[in-house]
C-alpha cells in the first residue's frame, strides 16, 4: 500500500532524512517511532505530498507521490502536527468543507461527514465553533478531517500529543478501529503508543531507519530471547545454583528488593502487594536463548529444590528497551539507563 524507497530530504546542507526505506501492507498500522528531530514529520510531509523529496521515491496505492500528486492526495487523509482548523467554522461546516475539497460527491457528503463525526465521537459538538473547542476535541476534529473522505491511506503526525490520558486512550482506540479498512502511518516519540496501537513499527533515528518490521519480532530479535520474571523466597546463591545449569538459560538478573517496577518492564504496573516483600524474597529475571521456552523447567527446578515460588510471568522486553538500544550508540548508555540492573556476582556477594 505504502512503499518508501531510498527517500532522502536535505534542507540546505543539513540532511533531514537519508535513504529511508520501509513499506506498509494494506490494513496495517505502522508506527514511525523516533526521538524528536529524527525526521518523522519530514517523512510524513513527503508522503502527504506536501514536501518534495530530494531523492528517492514514495509510492502510495501505486502512485508516485511526486510525479502523480493529485492521485495521491485524493487517496490520503493527513493530520499534520498542528491540526489544520479554521477557528471560525463549526465542526460540521469544517468537515463539509474538507469533504468538498477532497472531492466527495455531494450525494455522499452528508453521510460521510456524519460517519466521521460519529467515529470521532463529535456528534455533540457538531454545531460548535472550532474556536471554542478544547485541545482534545480539536485533535479529534483533526482526525475527523483526515478520515472524512474515507481515504485508503491515513497519515497521522503525533495524533495524541497534548491530550489527557483518557483522551489518549480514546484516540488510540479510534486509530485501532481504522485498521483493516485503512492503512495508517502514525508518528510518535511516545513508546507505549506504538505498542498500544501499531502492528508494524519503523524506528528512525537521525534520519535513518534503524529497524523495521512487525512489533513482536522486533522485540524478540532485539532482546535476544525471551525470559521470565520470577519472585521466589530463598537466597540468591541457591537460586543461581538451581537455575544456572538448566539448558537454554542464558542469564539471571536480580533486581534489588525495593518496591517499584522491575527492570525493563516499566510499562507494566507493579501491584501494590509487592510493597511488603518478605525478608528473603527475591525478584529476578531469567533470560533464555531465543526460541527456547524454559518456563516449565524453571518452575520444576525451583519447586524441586523446595524454594517458594510466588510469582512467575513471561517477560516481554518493553519497547523502551528496544528503542534505547537502537537510538543510543554505545551500549553503556543503555545500561546506565537501567541502574536497577545489577550483575549477578555483585548481588550474590551482597547476599553472602
Amino acid at each position: 500500500m505504502i512503499e518508501v524507497e531510498h527517500l532522502s530530504k536535505v534542507y540546505g546542507s543539513t540532511p533531514a532524512i537519508e535513504d529511508l526505506s520501509f513499506g506498509v501492507q494494506p490494513g496495517e498500522i505502522l508506527g514511525l517511532l523516533g526521538p524528536n528531530g529524527a525526521g518523522k514529520t519530514t517523512t510524513m510531509r513527503i508522503l502527504a505530498g506536501y514536501l518534495p523529496a530530494t531523492s528517492g521515491t514514495a509510492h502510495l496505492a501505486g502512485y508516485e507521490v511526486h510525479t502523480n500528486p493529485m492521485a495521491v492526495r485524493q487517496r490520503i487523509g493527513y493530520l499534520p502536527e498542528t491540526p489544520p482548523l479554521y477557528p471560525d467554522m463549526t465542526v460540521e461546516g469544517f468537515l463539509h468543507f474538507v469533504a468538498r475539497l477532497k472531492g466527495v460527491s455531494s450525494g455522499d457528503r452528508r453521510r460521510q461527514v456524519n460517519s466521521a463525526l460519529e467515529r470521532c465521537n463529535l456528534q455533540e459538538k457538531r454545531q460548535v465553533l472550532i474556536r471554542k473547542l478544547s485541545k482534545g476535541f480539536r485533535q479529534r476534529v483533526g482526525i475527523a478531517q483526515a478520515i472524512v473522505h474515507d481515504p485508503p491511506a491515513i497519515i497521522l503526525d503525533e495524533p495524541t500529543v497534548g491530550l489527557d490520558p483518557r483522551q489518549i486512550i480514546e484516540v488510540r482506540n479510534l486509530i485501532k478501529s481504522l485498521a483493516g479498512s485503512h492503512t495508517v502511518i502514525l508518528s510518535t516519540h511516545i513508546l507505549p503508543e506504538v505498542s498500544a496501537t501499531c502492528s508494524q513499527v519503523a524506528i528512525i533515528n537521525q534520519g535513518r531507519v534503524v529497524m523495521t518490521g512487525p512489533l513482536e519480532n522486533l522485540m524478540v530479535q532485539l532482546t535476544g530471547g525471551t525470559g521470565y520474571d520470577l519472585e521466589v523466597s530463598g537466597n540468591a546463591a541457591e537460586v543461581q545454583q538451581q537455575l544456572q545449569g538448566l539448558p537454554g538459560v542464558r542469564l539471571i538478573e536480580f533486581s534489588p528488593p525495593q518496591p517499584g517496577q522491575g527492570a525493563g518492564s516499566r510499562d507494566t504496573q507493579t501491584p501494590a502487594a509487592d510493597l511488603d516483600l518478605g525478608e528473603n524474597h527475591l525478584k529476578f529475571r531469567v533470560v533464555s536463548e531465543p526460541e527456547v521456552d524454559v518456563g516449565p523447567q524453571i518452575a520444576a527446578a525451583l519447586v524441586g529444590a523446595g524454594l517458594g515460588l510466588h510469582e512467575m510471568r513471561r517477560a516481554r522486553a518493553s519497547l523502551e528497551d528496544v528503542f534505547l538500544k537502537l537510538t543510543t550508540e554505545e551500549n553503556t548508555l543503555v545500561e546506565a539507563d537501567h541502574p536497577a540492573n545489577q550483575s549477578l556476582s555483585e548481588q550474590a556477594e551482597e547476599a553472602a
Binding site: T82, P84, G103
Partner: protein, 261 residues
C-alpha cells in the same frame, strides 16, 4: 474541469462564510458605508453649490448627474485603495499562521484554484460593500432630467470592481509571502501608494516614460472608465494585473513548499 470548478466553489464558499463569522468584515463594512455616505452627501452639496454659482454667471449647460457620479466614484476608488489591503491581508497569511495551508496543499486541488477561489470570495465581499452605494445614487439620480444614461453608471461601477480585483489580486500575492497579516497589509498598502505615485509621475512627466507609466497605471484606466471611455487596452490591463497576482500567488505557494525548513 468539473472538479476544478467544484474546488474553486469549495474555497469560494469557505471564504464567504468566513466573512460572516469575522468581526473585522463587519467593522470594515461599517466604516466603508459610513465614509461612503458622508462623501456622497458632501459631493452632492459641493456640486449643487458649484452649479448654482455657475448659474449666476449665466445659463450654461452642466451635466450635474455626470459630475456627481464621476467625483463620487473617483473618491470611492481612493477609499477602496485604502480598504482593499485590509481585505486581502489575511487571505494567505492566516492560512500560513494557522497551518491550514498544509491541509489545502495536501488536498487534490491546484494552487491556482485556491487562489482564484479566494480572489472571487474577497471580490464578492467587496461587491457587497459597493451595492448599497447604488441605492444612494438611485435616489439622487431619480430626479435627474434628462435621466442619466445607465451604461455610464454601469461602466463606472464595473471599473471600480475591476480596479478592486486587480489590487486584491496583488494583495493576495503579498499575503502569500508572509505569516503576518499586518505585514501583508502594510506591504500591500505600500504597493498601492507606489501605484498612486507612478500615476502622478505619469501625469507630470512627459515623453516615453510618462506614456509608459500612463499605460500601466491602474488609476488612469479607472478614470477613463469613469469618463465613459471604453478601451480594450484598459480591460486587458486590468485582467493582466489580476492574472499576474494569481500567477505569482500560485508560484509563491509552490516555492514555499520547496524551501520550507
Amino acid at each position: 474541469m468539473a472538479t476544478i470548478l467544484r474546488n474553486i466553489t469549495a474555497i469560494y464558499r469557505k471564504e464567504l462564510q468566513s466573512y460572516f463569522a469575522s468581526p473585522l468584515a463587519y467593522v470594515i463594512a461599517g466604516v466603508f458605508w459610513l465614509l461612503a455616505g458622508l462623501f456622497f452627501v458632501v459631493i452632492l452639496q459641493t456640486v449643487v453649490q458649484q452649479v448654482s454659482s455657475l448659474d449666476l454667471q449665466g445659463p450654461q449647460p452642466v451635466d450635474v448627474p455626470y459630475q456627481i457620479q464621476q467625483s463620487f466614484l473617483s473618491v470611492m476608488g481612493s477609499l477602496a485603495l485604502v480598504i482593499l489591503p485590509i481585505l486581502s491581508m489575511g487571505l494567505y497569511a492566516e492560512e500560513r499562521k494557522r497551518g491550514t495551508l498544509e491541509l489545502l496543499a495536501t488536498s487534490p486541488i491546484t494552487n491556482w484554484a485556491i487562489a482564484l477561489g479566494k480572489l472571487l470570495g474577497v471580490l464578492t465581499f467587496f461587491v457587497t460593500l459597493v451595492l448599497p452605494l447604488l441605492v444612494y445614487e438611485a435616489i439622487a439620480f431619480s430626479t435627474a432630467s434628462p435621466p442619466i444614461q445607465p451604461w455610464i453608471l454601469l461602466l463606472g461601477h464595473g471599473g471600480l470592481i475591476l480596479l478592486a480585483a486587480a489590487v486584491l489580486s496583488l494583495g493576495l500575492f503579498i499575503s502569500s509571502l508572509t505569516e503576518s497579516s499586518i505585514l501583508a497589509a502594510v506591504l500591500t498598502f505600500a504597493l498601492v501608494l507606489c501605484l498612486w505615485i507612478f500615476d502622478l509621475i505619469g501625469q507630470t512627466v512627459g515623453g516615453p516614460i510618462g506614456a509608459a507609466l500612463n499605460h500601466l497605471s491602474l488609476l488612469k484606466h479607472y478614470t477613463n472608465l469613469l469618463q465613459g471611455v471604453v478601451d480594450t487596452s484598459s480591460l486587458i490591463l486590468f485582467t493582466s494585473y489580476i492574472f499576474l497576482g494569481l500567477f505569482l500567488t500560485a508560484q509563491s505557494i509552490d516555492t514555499l513548499r520547496f524551501q520550507r525548513s
